[in-house]
Symmetry: C2
Subunit: 235 residues, 2 copies
């Protein structure tokens, strides 16, 4: 006999979080997905998150608006140029300007609030310490610190709930992530990674997210289903 | 010679956070204030926050929208009745239904993001462990856990910034808070506490926030400048 466990899964619309949702479903969690509308420069990824939630059988999907533009500090929310055509080594070498201050802290806080409302003790998020080594809030020490916080921050935590943040992608490189997703049946054609898509939703092919994604499919030896803009360089 | 220190002050429009801002100004901080529009049932407190920021000489004031209604769980954001005419003892006896899951975690996360953007290491917030003993995220252990999180969650923290969350009201009762505010020159007539104001902004006089505020002024022996609705019971 198994107990039904409920999880809140942060969903961005990208391939990472789609793989997380598939992982959580495979591990028997009833999954409620949460996408954060944080003032991204485009809605393409929010639409992708909704499609992924539906196809991967989320019990519910929510979009929560949190306007991170008003606290500033990043190319992902402000009107500055997204860097293009950097190599994977360059992308991993420093904290990129696409870093949004405290973004994962805000996202996990929202997921924690929803978890408490739904009486769920499990959160699932796509943090990854390899491809995004430049983001301090993608590291295991951040995740452990947030679990400690959750225990004292909530009514449920005070009542004994041991919140657990699952990060199944933490130590995987992009190719391993893609292989994991494929093995779990994820249709990556539904997902969106590009920071700077064309008006029709096609990926630019040159931003950090596109470079990591393209390299990942190449390294995994799996055909890349991404629709790139015509001006994008071929992989 | 003194160094200019910059702080982010969470401002709700209530008397607690106004006192915090006055405290921070008195302690020499250049203060940037942040009010969170989290889907409150009314805008009166957001307007009060703006007035308080202007009068107490904040260097900047921001409102950030974060729609906590979509994660549910509280009478402050949902269409359920706010409890009325409870005694202070009843209010302090359990976690009230006005509790918003993870609210202070979300608020501090936003303040942390702004602090990193502004290169500030100090946050100021009105958490209080006495009057709001029912809120887990108003206790010192929560504040300390968040400071630990901040050190690993941000680029600045990883770079050595020791974030400090100042909670000057933590161990004060409402009367002591009011006396502190008066000694710092706060005009409490600018502030708003009521959970359920009349359409013209007058306080209801009966919700938990009104009861605590009225009792506080009574206990401090200070005239209550609050404008109550005509139907409210006199103090």
């Amino acid at each position: 006999m198994t107990t039904v466990r409920t999880a809140v899964v942060l969903l961005s619309g990208g391939l990472d979080s789609a793989t997380c949702l598939a992982w959580a479903r495979t591990h028997g969690f009833v999954c409620h997905t949460l996408a954060v509308d944080y003032g991204q420069r485009h809605r393409v990824e929010l639409d992708a998150a909704r499609r992924v939630a539906a196809v991967l059988d989320a019990a519910s999907h929510r979009e929560v608006k949190t306007d991170l533009r008003s606290i500033g500090g990043s190319a992902l929310t402000a009107a500055v140029d997204v860097p293009k055509e950097r190599t994977a080594a360059e992308i991993g070498s420093d904290i990129p300007i696409t870093y949004v201050p405290a973004r994962n802290t805000v996202f996990l806080a929202l997921a924690l609030g929803l978890a408490e409302t739904l009486v769920a003790a499990d959160l699932v998020a796509g943090m990854n310490a390899l491809d995004y080594s430049g983001y301090p809030d993608c590291r295991p020490e951040f995740v452990r610190a947030f679990e400690s916080l959750a225990r004292v921050a909530t009514r449920a935590g005070v009542g004994g709930t041991e919140y657990r943040i699952h990060t199944p992608l933490m130590s995987l490189d992009k190719a391993a992530m893609i292989r994991l997703g494929i093995s779990l049946g994820v249709d990556f054609g539904l997902t969106h990674s590009c920071y700077d898509p064309a008006p029709d939703g096609a990926a630019c092919g040159g931003c950090d997210a596109c470079v990591l994604r393209r390299n990942g499919f190449l390294a995994a030896g799996i055909a890349d289903p991404t629709r790139y803009a015509l001006t994008a360089r071929s992989g």
